[in-house]
């Protein structure tokens, strides 16, 4: 049982790292948002693994609230993304660097 728990935590760490990598290296704003979802899914996996390991409900309940936060995040992110694309004309994060210095 411990081995399964540690395996799942290692999987969660690997997925979180891949999500972080996507946030840093990708140009496309949509794929950056998807990479953020990868990171959130890794966190959910670690909560569920802990809940299944300890046989308690706290981790599973926290997962529910993460889903609510993720739903809000994606609704806002998509609205902002469409607004940004209409204003700047591109999804490329490096197209216009407005912060200088």
């Amino acid at each position: 049982m411990i081995a399964r728990y540690e395996l799942l935590l290692a999987l969660a760490v690997a997925l979180f790292t891949m999500g972080l990598l996507g946030v840093v290296i990708r140009r496309n704003l949509l794929v950056v948002v998807m990479s953020l979802e990868l990171m959130l899914n890794a966190v959910v996996l670690s909560f569920v693994a802990a809940a299944a390991h300890t046989q308690t409900l706290h981790g599973a309940a926290m997962t529910f609230f993460i889903y609510v936060a993720a739903t809000c995040e994606i609704a806002l992110a998509m609205a902002l993304l469409v607004l940004l694309v209409r204003r700047r004309g591109t999804l490329d994060l490096t197209a216009r660097q407005e912060l200088r210095g």
Binding site: A14, M18, L20, A49, T54, Q55, A69, A70, C72, E73
Partner: protein, 164 residues
């Protein structure tokens, strides 16, 4: 034993689909890879007997969040320059920083980390137990979550008004 085989198989699938999200050129392909990744995670949750969360994963993430994302992709122009050039100039530093962060997380969460001991008892992940716990212990959190959802709706509406 067979459960462990399924968990490892779906774990490998989740990793492969996550890698496809990172390297896909077209956002629609990345979104479909993300759907497959989330479905693999839902299968892992089902193997762990946490069926409530597996159901939420499919209904909320795959069924709502990702469908919303696919609709957004269809609204956008597929001749965008970001579709042709995938990676930014921070590829090498990004790989180094991500690997470093992953190693630190492995060190903190890995063997010798904070591993709680299992508590034997009745199955806490049945729908009845989950629902009763939400009504008894997590009702305040649940109400706060509804306020957060309402705030999200109002904020999205405000952004749409700004667009007009």
């Amino acid at each position: 034993m067979i459960t462990d085989v399924f968990i490892v198989s779906f774990g490998v699938l989740a990793l492969v689909f996550a890698a496809m999200v990172l390297v896909a050129r077209q956002p629609m392909r990345a979104a479909l890879a993300l759907v497959a990744h989330m479905s693999s995670l839902a299968a892992i949750y089902a193997c762990l007997n946490v069926h409530v969360i597996a159901l939420f994963q499919v209904l909320i993430y795959v069924g709502a969040v990702m469908v919303f994302m696919v609709y957004t992709i269809m609204l956008l122009d597929d001749r965008d320059v970001a579709y042709r050039r995938r990676f930014s100039g921070t590829l090498v530093p990004g790989v180094v920083v991500s690997l470093g962060a992953g190693l630190v997380l492995l060190r903190v969460l890995g063997p010798g980390g904070a591993v709680a001991s299992p508590q034997p008892g009745a199955d806490p992940f049945s729908f009845a137990t989950f629902s009763a716990a939400f009504m008894e212990r997590y009702w305040l959190h649940f109400e706060i979550a509804t306020v957060l959802l309402l705030a999200g709706i109002v904020a999205a509406w405000a952004v749409i008004r700004e667009e007009r």
